[in-house]
């Protein structure tokens, strides 16, 4: 898997910088954060990468609200061992007005997102339960300053988009014509994002759905 360091030189070359000792841009403080910024933006546009957390998440006894693990931008799915239905708080209030008072020793019947950083459980558990979580991954979880060893969690054909994005954002501090002419680079990044969106929809069109219910139409994969 590629790392951020593998993309740095391509960015510096687009900026006409000496890759051995760049003068006008700092690799650690500018180029690497711009590459991470590109990956974050494409994650928001496409909902990729979508990962299933290998470590089990513990739903503790008598607790209703849990924090979403920090490696996720958003939680999409829960299973343990059966699929656990995703609902919304509004739906629960309408359909099961007394839901907050229920408690169940088995796995939960449903979960609901509370913004991006928390999720709730219905009903509360009377014993600890462990589940697998799936969500849209935060592309880089390491703290700043980035070392360059951070993995790029996207396929190679999309990585040029990140170098184009980083080169475009880097030229913001030049301003004027230099910056305006770099808009084309941002356009190439968006073009890559568009392609990744198509692939993401092909893989799972219910990624962005309020509840995993019956889809409006079958996906290309299902049709095949």
């Amino acid at each position: 898997m590629a790392t951020i360091a593998d993309l740095e030189n391509a960015v510096l070359q687009r900026l006409e910088e000496d890759t051995a000792s760049p003068k006008f841009w700092s690799v650690q403080d500018e180029i690497r954060p711009f590459l991470v910024e590109a990956m974050s933006e494409i994650a928001l546009i496409t909902g990729e990468p979508e990962i299933r957390r290998s470590a089990l998440f513990t739903l503790t006894t008598n607790t209703r609200i849990f924090p979403v693990p920090t490696e996720f931008i958003a939680l999409l799915r829960m299973e343990g061992p059966k699929f656990i239905e995703k609902v919304s708080l509004w739906e629960l209030d309408q359909m099961v007005p007394d839901w907050e008072g229920e408690a169940n020793a088995d796995q939960p019947k449903a979960w609901f997102p509370i913004g991006l950083t928390r999720f709730g459980l219905y009903p509360k558990l009377t014993a600890d339960n462990q589940v697998f979580l799936t969500g849209v991954a935060l592309p880089v979880t390491a703290a700043r300053p980035y070392a360059g060893t951070e993995a790029v969690q996207f396929q190679e054909e999309f990585q040029e988009g990140f170098t184009e994005y980083a080169a475009h954002v880097a030229r913001l501090k030049e301003g004027g014509n230099e910056f305006v002419q770099s808009i084309k680079q941002y356009d190439r990044f968006l073009s890559r994002a568009e392609e990744l969106s198509h692939f993401a929809i092909r893989k799972g069109s219910l990624r962005f759905s309020r509840a995993a219910g019956v889809p409006a139409k079958i996906t290309d994969v299902e049709q095949r």
Partner: protein, 304 residues
């Protein structure tokens, strides 16, 4: 790991071609007043009055530069530090101290305003709080970090979100009603700002659970952890830069200010679509979303 205010302001500094402080301190000073600190990378970006983040973890503190010399400065320390602890800060030194282009407090204020603007428009963060109800008291003040109250429940039962207008029409005698003793409805209209009320008036000392979208109520300092998740944080940079390039003075740059504003608005639109797409809003629906624009910068903006 969650970004802090200084991370965003450092990005802003570099875009404004302002030096940033990112080094270590040679000494191992003890806590106390007027400690001499020698930055390993020199004194660039350090001036009297500059705030810096010194140390990490348990030793981390914000220090203020008191005096400067050719290769060192003095500051009061609350903590004792080991040798070679980190020293960092976006200080915006250009023109300091008598004709600054930007000040740290100014940029922190921009960042605070931009973050709250994003939180207001997208509402990605929610929190809960409890409120002890007093017998005979109808109206209460919402938590200071509330953007919008979304839901209130008492004894594990959600209350109906109504309005005084509805109550006036349906039950003209409602202000005098006291049964049932536990409120069944809550409203926010026609009372003071940032307040909410119950119907009927509480007659027993119950505890209400408030669910609300959250903002940052206090002023940011350099090491404040951003409330907005990291994936969205770069949009704050563009919001701050838009303000920096919009203000009157030598740094004024309408073209880049316009670009940054559009990148920020694009980020808002992206956040709204993302939140709505995964169903993470507590409220049922968002207001109509802005159009998707492929290019943040319109072709007709002039160059200069």
């Amino acid at each position: 790991m969650a970004l802090i205010a200084n991370d965003i302001l450092q990005d802003v500094s570099l875009a404004l071609v302002e030096p940033v402080v990112s080094t270590t301190v040679n000494e191992a000073p003890t806590a106390g007043a007027d400690r001499t600190l020698t930055p390993a990378a020199g004194m660039k970006g350090i001036y009297v009055g500059a705030n810096l983040i010194y140390g990490t973890g348990a030793t981390e503190e914000i220090i203020t530069v008191k005096t400067v010399a050719a290769s060192s400065f003095t500051a009061d320390l609350v903590n004792t530090h080991a040798a070679s602890e980190t020293l960092k800060g976006a200080t915006f030194p250009s023109g300091q101290t008598d004709h600054p282009l930007f000040t740290q407090n100014e940029m922190l204020a921009y960042l605070g305003a931009v973050q709250n603007q994003y939180l207001l428009k997208v509402r990605p963060i929610y929190n809960t709080a409890t409120k002890a109800l007093s017998v005979g008291t109808r109206n209460y003040t919402q938590p200071t970090t509330t953007i919008r109250l979304e839901r209130i429940s008492i004894a594990d039962k959600p209350l109906l979100n109504t309005s005084m207008s509805d109550l006036d029409l349906l039950q003209p005698g409602w202000p005098a009603e006291t049964a049932p003793p536990v409120p069944t409805d809550w409203f926010q209209d026609k009372i003071d700002n940032e307040k909410y009320g119950f119907f009927p008036m509480p007659q027993v000392g119950e505890t209400a659970t408030l669910w609300f979208s959250e903002k940052v109520a206090t002023a940011l300092v350099l090491n404040t952890t951003l409330l907005l998740p990291d994936a969205f944080a770069h949009f704050l940079k563009y919001g701050v830069l838009s303000r920096a390039w919009s203000k009157d003075g030598e740094q004024r740059d309408p073209m880049r200010a316009e670009y940054c504003d559009r990148r920020f608005q694009f980020g808002v639109m992206l956040g709204q679509k993302f939140i709505q797409g995964i169903g993470a809003l507590l409220s049922q629906r968002l207001p109509p979303q802005s159009m998707f624009r492929r290019f943040p910068l319109p072709a007709e903006v002039g160059v200069g």
